[in-house]
Subunit: 447 residues, 2 copies
């Protein structure tokens, strides 16, 4: 579909910088795909829209990358049953993702160049836009390995000969108390998370990857998110969720490398998934109209933090560690026993932490005029059996905040490790190509 | 609901700048509500998120204001049948809009302050965010004046004694050829357009206005938009729609004051609507998967412009005027007779132009995995009978682009003139208040 011929090549940057001309090679040569010298701007640079993050590395980008402002995430169902076609799809996606994240168009024939009698390789709507810190992160669902069980419990089909490669942690999530899951917003064989500081850049990425999947996979569900609800770097301000509270104060941050090894990255003993992670996605609808009618006191007691500063109710400032033993009048704990901050705290879960990377969402309204809005929770964890399921089981059972929350969508995906630096083949014009001999996302799985 | 007492007042800026302290007055005093000295930054300033636009003026903001990056638009149905409650709602909305657009919280009791036993006046999720160039623009639907006709043609009910104030141009739009309208995405008694460079700021505005409407009006439908598809200032770059083409090259721009008087502003003879406008909203779904499979040549012929540069196919560059008489081989016109640029051109419509202010949208996908995406068309016109209906009638009948378009939602609203500079009452802390004696949006309608 995206032949890498010797025809004219256009990059988004070339379109930008050279007025749509064809002399793109000089611009492209400076890009960082697969090079140790790749630029890795801090959040300040990326948030101006001009930065790029390397596509290759030990881990996939889009996990510890400082959380961009916008998300577009798509889950796909495979329509092919051919293992070769699945491999070819991942190879094609790798090439396109490597290009897009470096500010190039999806293929060598951009919107401004021929051949005129074929569709352009790239759909064009991001042609004039800067890379906007785009990252693309791929994940694999349980159904890709073992199919989908029937409603009567009959086992799913191992369409691709991958059942014996199913990662231990890629379990079927149990039912949680606050679940009202819509199957049309849940699961999927594959997931692609596109994050950028411009939603048009993120949507453009998913659209072009979806287009490249034609005949092999179709979109099952998508989620657009704005207003990142977590910081993944100590350089980032703590954002607010739609309850109006700061969220993710105690998140695992990119700078905590020991904590990342302990809580986020799958260990070396895990075979093909070593260096990868698990992505947990939960679409959490908030009953914001009800929430908006509760008193400030009640809101703060439910959360366990102040609304303005985000300080624990035991005192201090935002980053003060909560003191769950502190008592107020009559010996009552200052942080209620059923408050969110206490029940979600690592001390309640054998120290388990997550790297959260969620976004706010607003998807219209229901027939009563209530906003269909909330938190699209995304977390990366080393093992969902220890780092997500027990936490959510406790929260859905005991957290008083659950009165205002309904989980309406859910997905769990194994996230392969990154494509090694320098391993992508480089085409004649210096842009990345994946061939039968070069690594691609998930290659170790098929080795 | 939002008592302006002498209690502590907090602005979003105060929260930002003063660590949640209460000494907001000094900060607030510099704000531009209702002052001739109000700051009116150019797009470069607003796009950094720090700018504000004046709320008051001859016209409402959000029309010729340089188009911000994001949109959240909500149509409301009135649930009250009391004229007094309708007036009170518009008064309350005026106060809140004046505050929010100047970077203040929705009411004096922000998320960080008491009274603790009442809900905060403001929902809080924008507390740490800059104003992001927020504008809020109000419009009034035909059904507010004359009710909604029954399916059998029985006339609607004049609930508010406003039937004789119905503006001449606020007609029921006819059925157009490409229409497949969803009533749940169409019409409404009131509309609020919130535009900002941060979607969280725009959503926060609609949420807080919706909250203030509780008991009087409920949301009927909403639309989130990103990637503005028009420029409204010559200082702005022409953006691209989801067909990958530049859009709005020939838009009416803020700098063309004569053209604004001729095509956008309702003339002085129009009574209470003088200085206002009409807002036409059309949710146009694009069949982008089909589009993506057409050749570059075909795409350019359908549009009548080149995809890269956006130049007319008759030659030149983006801003070259199309030459519809230019012929190519065999005498065929270089710009096809059924191309979009020719059929939409003012020369085909007695010179009628619109001020377009649309946005791209992506609202998930359908059961076949096709993106529910397209263009949320917004235009401001002096009279829809001369400036929109004939144009859309011709386009929906003859434009070859219509093969790729379906109109799935529609609304037409009369946009009252602005609240005059300096006319809002100022509270003890310098923040705006509308009282029974001070003007509010649409006041002339009720005079």
């Amino acid at each position: 579909m995206h032949d890498e011929t010797d025809g004219p090549r256009l990059s988004r940057r070339a379109v930008l910088g050279l007025g749509g001309g064809l002399a793109a090679a000089g611009v492209v040569a400076g890009l960082g795909v697969g090079r140790a010298t790749a630029t890795a701007p801090g959040p300040a640079v990326a948030s101006t829209g001009t930065g790029t993050y390397p596509f290759t590395g030990v881990h996939q980008a889009g996990i510890v990358t400082p959380a961009q402002d916008r998300l577009y995430l798509a889950a796909f169902d495979l329509t092919t049953t051919s293992r070769d076609e699945l491999v070819e799809l991942l190879r094609r996606w790798t090439t396109i993702a490597a290009r897009l994240t470096q500010g190039l168009s999806a293929g060598p024939f951009g919107p401004a160049s021929g051949p005129y009698d074929a569709p352009p390789d790239d759909t064009g709507e991001a042609a004039d836009l800067p890379p906007a810190g785009l990252t693309i992160t791929f994940g694999l669902g349980r159904s890709m390995f073992v199919g989908t069980p029937g409603p009567d419990g009959t086992p799913g089909e191992d369409r691709f000969g991958l059942a014996d490669r199913l990662p231990d942690g890629l379990v079927a999530l149990p039912h949680f108390a606050a679940d009202d899951l819509d199957p049309a917003r849940s699961d999927g064989d594959l997931v692609v998370q596109a994050c950028a500081d411009d939603p048009q850049v993120a949507v453009h990425a998913i659209r072009n990857l979806s287009r490249a999947a034609f005949g092999s996979a179709t979109i099952r569900w998508t989620q657009l998110g704005y207003g990142r609800t977590s910081s993944t770097s100590t350089a980032q301000r703590t954002p607010r969720n739609l309850f109006g509270f700061k969220d993710g104060t105690a998140n695992v941050k990119a700078e905590e490398t020991d904590a990342l090894d302990e809580h986020v990255w799958v260990p070396a003993s895990a075979g093909w998934l070593a260096g990868g992670s698990y992505l947990v996605a939960r679409r959490i609808r908030m009953r914001i109209e009800t929430w908006d009618r509760t008193s400030l006191r009640e809101q703060e007691n439910l959360v366990g933090r102040t609304k303005g500063e985000g300080a624990p109710l035991s005192g201090g400032t935002e980053f003060t560690e909560p003191d769950f033993t502190a008592q107020g009048r009559g010996g009552a704990p200052l942080i209620a026993v059923d408050s969110h901050v206490r029940l979600a705290h690592p001390s309640s879960h054998d120290g388990a932490r997550m790297l959260r990377r969620g976004y706010n969402f607003t998807d219209g309204n229901d027939a009563l005029g209530r906003l269909d809005a909330g938190l699209f929770f995304v977390a990366f964890v080393r093992d969902p059996r220890t780092h997500y399921i027990p936490v959510q089981a406790a929260l859905s059972r005991d957290d008083v905040l659950m009165e205002y929350l309904t989980h309406t969508g859910s997905g769990l995906f194994a996230v392969p490790p990154g494509v090694p630096d320098g391993s992508l083949v480089t085409g004649a014009d210096g842009t990345p190509v994946t061939t039968a001999d070069s690594p691609f996302v998930g290659q170790q799985l098929f080795a």
